[in-house]
């Protein structure tokens, strides 16, 4: 089975996605490879603010690039409605362990509609749900990138169908929501702790030591929430995944995204 791409994967789009993901990787993982002589090491608590300003810019550039020649009215409508669904179900998960119902929408959306659309869906849903719940803060740019990746990689997984696909998506959903928690911790690790605690990162220290400190920080803060969240995401994918994927794929077939538009010269009627 080939995958449907609501946003066609042209070379331009792939290149922009790769470049923005690279900037995202730097914005999250910089504590592990920052040089001790760098400005960022002296201003470790300010660096996240810098990235919180830079990330919306690059995500904006990417979304402009995706929508420039990839999104028609149907794509915009699909993006709007799926973001609305993700936004509407976000509060439902708050009581349990966080974001699971929203994650399932992003996972299935990215899976059924392609990786580039997935990234746009993930980042836009985080943005609109933050606006609706008035949760715009320095964490939002990081959430947008992480949720974009979450949906994008679901679309990049191998194209298999049937039970194997659901099993794969369950495993991916559990792992990716764990990874999401770890990434969000990583994004505020430098400024939440400052430089003078046993769990803070040490610029220039060996990777293994900083990784161990990061893991300890995760354990001390959010692992107790991250694990139930991963399990719930997998369970919800198992229960709702098959029907919802079918519904999404049927709707995209009805919308006929990949049908080329052709204009034909009308047939002349000699009688008139």
């Amino acid at each position: 089975m080939t995958q449907l791409h609501v946003v066609p994967l042209r070379r331009r789009t792939v290149a922009a996605l790769t470049a923005v993901s690279l900037v995202g990787v730097i914005a999250f993982f910089w504590p592990f490879f920052v040089s001790p002589q760098s400005v960022a090491a002296d201003h470790a608590t300010d660096a996240p603010w810098f990235f919180a300003v830079l990330l919306p810019l690059v995500v904006g550039v990417l979304l402009a690039e995706i929508s420039d020649d990839g999104l028609d009215a149907k794509g915009v409508a699909m993006l709007a409605v799926l973001s609305a669904v993700a936004t509407a179900v976000r509060p439902l998960g708050a009581g349990v362990a966080g974001l699971e119902p929203m994650f399932v929408v992003l996972l299935l959306g990215g899976r059924a509609l392609g990786p580039a659309f997935g990234f746009a869906l993930g980042s836009l849903s985080m943005f609109t749900s933050a606006l609706l719940t008035a949760g715009v803060g320095p964490w939002l740019p990081f959430q947008m990138v992480a949720a974009g990746w979450f949906a994008m990689f679901a679309g990049l997984l191998p194209q298999i169908r049937g039970r194997a696909e659901i099993a794969m998506l369950m495993a991916y959903g559990a792992l990716a929501s764990l990874a999401y928690g770890f990434l969000m911790n990583l994004s505020f690790w430098p400024w939440a702790l400052g430089q003078d605690s046993e769990l803070s990162f040490v610029p220039g220290a060996p990777l293994s030591e900083n990784l161990a400190r990061w893991f300890a920080f995760n354990l001390a803060t959010s692992l107790g929430w991250d694990i139930p969240r991963a399990v719930l995401t997998a369970v919800l994918t198992l229960l709702a995944g098959p029907v919802l994927l079918r519904a999404l794929r049927r709707a995209t077939r009805r919308a006929a995204f990949d049908t080329p538009v052709r204009f034909e010269t009308p047939i002349e009627h000699p009688a008139r």
Binding site: S67, L82, P101, A192, L193
Partner: protein
């Protein structure tokens, strides 16, 4: 002054200016003053809208941030200063958890640093919370640059559809209750998601048809050369940003230059892309003198605090002084509380 919405960009510039001031001073008196100014403006210019309650939520998060910071310092802090307050029993964790030492002596200096740095963060969050409850989110989306017009439209539609979908969820649950099916638990949530998603997807297709018939998304014709230029600018800009970041983190001198160049190219690329989009604005938000005043007071507070205050904490601890320039600039940021037009009052039915 007649009631009208202040441009959301003005509120955000004001709040981010105050927030930047907060991150640049370690003076608890100035931090307290910033919080007081933010609270005053919010209480006098907050609209009657659902999102306006954000300020209280952010204040709660801010308090939590200080508490967490102090907690981590007591448990994991490295010893700073000489004034011992109390000593906790200490334990060393195994090597696979970085060999961290828990507990130990807690000094007054450690606590003071934790409280002050936590308050810097907390003050910034309170400023962001003020912007969240003062600026209308939908108007913010409408003010996006033209290159982001399509995504902005999707965002506006998503914001206005989301409450309707919540109502749909409730309706489906009601139908399940009437049929004697369970309405709680994971299975109920999974099963009720199908009708909700199906009806939303139908909405999407109808919406797309409606947009198509009204000529939405028609771009002006541009030459292939212009489009290639735009794609080249965006890609080269993004690569420049990534390489510049690597260089800055590796302490190379030319990193900032590359970063600035990349940003300039990427932004030019968006602007070029925006030229293809033809759009009209419904009720545009004007930028008048109240907007300029609001933005200027926020930014000048940031400049004044950066000029006269320092974010390093001196040891031994001393009682902080009050630099008059910074105090005056921060107090001036309270002017929007009286000099901006009040927000519109919503229509009351019944």
């Amino acid at each position: 002054m007649t009631n009208r919405w202040l441009h959301p960009g003005a509120w955000w510039l004001w709040a981010l200016g105050l927030g930047a001031a907060a991150t640049r001073t370690a003076n608890p008196l100035l931090l307290g003053l910033i919080v007081a100014v933010a609270a005053l403006v919010v209480s006098s210019r907050r609209p009657q809208a659902q999102w306006a309650g954000a300020f209280a939520v952010f204040v709660r998060i801010a308090v939590l941030v200080v508490v967490i910071r102090v907690g981590f310092t007591v448990l994991f802090g490295l010893r700073v200063g000489t004034t011992d307050l109390f000593t906790l029993p200490s334990a060393t964790l195994p090597d696979w958890m970085a060999g961290v030492t828990l507990g130990g002596a807690v000094t007054a200096e450690m606590l003071a640093i934790a409280v002050i740095q936590g308050s810097q963060l907390a003050t910034l969050l309170i400023c962001v919370g003020a912007a969240n409850s003062l600026a209308s989110p939908v108007r913010l989306l409408k003010a996006l640059p033209p290159g982001l017009y399509h995504v902005g439209v999707a965002g506006v539609v998503a914001l206005s559809l989301a409450p309707r979908i919540m109502v749909n969820v409730r309706r489906v649950m009601q139908a399940r209750r009437m049929r004697g099916r369970p309405t709680r638990g994971l299975r109920a949530a999974a099963e009720s998601s199908v009708p909700v998603l199906e009806s939303s997807l139908d909405d999407a297709i109808n919406l797309a048809a409606a947009m198509d018939t009204r000529g939405y998304g028609r771009a002006t014709r541009t030459s292939p050369g212009e489009r290639a230029l735009q794609a080249g600018l965006v890609l080269a800009g993004l690569m420049g940003i990534a390489l510049g970041l690597f260089a800055v983190l590796g302490a190379s001198g030319w990193g900032w230059l590359l970063l600035a160049l990349g940003l300039a190219m990427a932004i030019t690329g968006i602007l070029v892309a925006g030229r293809r989009i033809v759009r009209t604005r419904y009720r545009p938000d004007p930028w008048g003198w109240p907007e300029t005043l609001t933005a200027a007071t926020g930014i000048s507070a940031a400049i004044a605090v950066i000029a006269v205050s320092s974010s390093t904490i001196t040891i031994p601890l001393t009682w902080p002084a009050l630099p008059p320039v910074a105090v005056a600039a921060i107090l001036a940021a309270a002017l929007p509380a009286v000099l901006t037009p009040p927000p519109p009052v919503p229509w009351r039915t019944a």
